[in-house]
Amino acid sequence: MRGPGFLEQLDEALPGAVVGRNLEALDPWVEVAPDRVADVCRWLATSSPVRFDSLQCITAVDWCEPDPKKAAKVSWQPHLELVYHLWSTAARVSLVVKAKLPRWKADVPGQLPEIPSVCGVWRGAAWHEREVYDLSGVWFTGHEDLRRILCPEDWEGYPLRKDYEMPLDYHGIRGK
């Protein structure tokens, strides 16, 4: 993966999909445009010189500082970052694919940001995407069965959002 030409081939196959990269980081990563995630993953899994045939993990990182005092000091704009950890069983190397999403679709709180599902690339992604939807509130378009997986079906809110507030009551159970 660290060999020459790998990213150039990706650029050639999918022009404009890769918007950032750092191959010198602790875990080498590429950042892709959110609407091209599924295309890039499909290329990495089937056409790349190194086949990333296994999806290890999908993580959503919420970059948001609810405390206005601290928020004034941070250097980033609020956003969600999706992190895909890929692994190649043949070459035994990993690659990280990142994508930046707005925290809410069209900045309307409650409207989930959307990103294409990668279930068509790795069937194992289905549960990982359900978990990210459940805890971080990201809508995966094209996912056949996107519903909560760890929290109860009638749970409100997305616990891993930084501005999430624990409900005070859930079916008569005290929250705080």
Binding site: D27, D53, D62, H85, T89, W122, W127, C151
Partner: protein, 402 residues
Amino acid sequence: MASLVDDDPRIIEFDVRTDEMLVNMGPQHPSTHGVLRLVLRTDGEVVSEVEPHIGYLHRCAEKIGENLTHRQFIPYTDRMDYLAAMNMNLGWALAVEKLMKYQVSEKARHLRVLIAELNRIASHLVGMGAYGLDLGTFSPFLYAFREREKILDLFEEACGARLTYSYITVGGLTADLPPGWLRRCEAFLDQFEPIIQEYHALLTTNAIFVKRTANIGVMSRELAIEYGCSGPVLRGSGVDQDMRRDGEAIYTAMYEGYAFEVAVQKDGHYPRDHQYPAVPADAVLGDCWHRFFVRMLEVVQSMDLVRQAIDRYSACQGPLGEPLKLTEKMPAGDAYLETECPKGQMGFYIVSDGSAIPWRARARSSSFSNLAVAPELCRGCLIADVPAIVGSLDIVMGEIDR
């Protein structure tokens, strides 16, 4: 008059369709290894669809991790895979150390190998014993727990706890071993080694056990890889992968100089298989029997590694080294590390903004991915095979639900 063959109760007619029925298995079913609920769509004895419902043990440990410093999170990793808490501690500690580019002392490194491999034996013993229970035999469970108890006694002596150890921590270990511990550990190994033949007699070669597991729940290597399966579940399908050998430098460096062979079938043979019972004629690679057998081989492999670690640890001069301070700051950035836990590859992902408290703490559970494949394996099997298949995945709900 119906012929004798038609009346043979051993013949199952898979193609006769009657009424469909939904059957709820769990969440308190004894063979679901914790609180797992399976909804089975059945037609007579044949299962057409299995849907696992998880989340009964969900505590959102990842959110807790965003509110504690890296070392304070260690006790929460204990409660993920509570049968192999040492390995969970190790995974988190190494992930933080990777981000901080920190290296533990040589003595701490060998002690970590010793403890982690000893815990792997304990975990596989539960896996083996509980799998026997799933299939309706009680004795192996008692035999397995008899030996596991001795490992827990050793752990209790080392760190004071029997299940949730928090012994391995960021930057080293909380304490050194008490005097005489190594001798007692060696005595245990000497006593344990011949007993493994008993386990093989009880389960591996048991005719009923083979009937229940061979050629049941066969998983192809492609399916295992696509679902991100890992550990014995992946190796049981013939994929030659073990993070202790193939993982990242910070983890493989821990096992540098240790001799071990990955327990996987290559060219029809397991490593050193002349010492073990032959593979039954009915078993095919990727079935329940092979997943079980890989675990049994890893018990021997871990025992070997513990012996090597004892030698290296006792040869080490100098102090063990102090663990990092609770409030030691992490550099800004992110790091992901997967370690080979008994159940599979446990990954920890840390995002740091430069303070001692992670901005995001993520646990990638091996059992989560291993259970996700169960609906594929159970399609078209018999109801009685569902516990056999789910049990062969050796899942722990505390780790899936986190």
